[in-house]
Amino acid sequence: MKKNYLFIQSQDLFYEARTSTQYKLAIALAEAQGNVSILLVQNAVLATRKGVNPAVYADLHRHNIDVYADELSLNQREISADNINEFVKPAPLNIVIDAMLNGDKVVWW
């Protein structure tokens, strides 16, 4: 049976070297029958702006990992929905609550 994971990524890949290890773990979980999603919050959304183009979002997409960005965090930073990475979708924060109420493993990074 597939296990559901939602990782809430609050760490910013510009500053935090840990993020690359975290994304490797997410991919390893997806490869091992995990159904993995990631929600970027706070400064983690800064790397979603078009033009930054980190390879990581395409890589996560290739592994069937959905990546979302918190709508308020985007709005606060004036990053509009039509100006973010093609592999990232804006989403309300309540997807965290939906995941918790679904019994998913929800982990804060």
Partner: protein, 136 residues
């Protein structure tokens, strides 16, 4: 919808980190989703409900205390308590007692209790799910 209980453990103090507002937004969203809530406030988070927090004016903003209407986390806790009551939901809040003592923030707003890590385990064990938001 079947009512489900969710637990949140949070560690950050007020006025220091963006995690604080994200945590409050999550609890607010959980109430909207019809969940009962249990919060374990650890370390600096034990000051979130500190009753002696005081709003201030801001001369740089050219606003007095009333005009500035400065946010206080104790008011956010109270607002969530009020919302829970209005929705017929439960919001239980435990501050880590040792964390409160060492910081001198014993005086919490009504409805916030003193406890220990055993309460976190009790909360988690009685909840449908738990989210820990660690500090960084």
């Amino acid at each position: 919808m079947e009512n489900k209980k969710l637990t949140f453990a949070f560690m950050d103090p007020p006025f220091e980190n963006e995690r604080t507002i994200t945590f409050f937004r999550l609890v607010d969203a959980a109430l909207d989703a019809g969940a009962d809530i249990q919060v374990f406030a650890y370390e600096g988070a034990a000051a979130l409900a500190f009753a002696l927090q005081k709003a201030h004016g801001n001369s740089v903003h050219h606003r007095d205390t009333e005009q500035e209407a400065h946010p206080l986390t104790k008011d956010w806790v109270a607002a969530l308590q009020k919302k829970a009551e209005r929705l017929g939901r439960q919001l239980d809040w435990v501050n880590c007692g040792l964390c409160v003592d060492e910081r001198g923030v014993n005086e919490s707003i009504p409805g916030c209790k003193r406890g220990s890590p055993a309460d976190l385990w009790r909360y988690a064990d009685s909840s449908f799910n738990t989210l820990v938001i660690g500090t960084r």
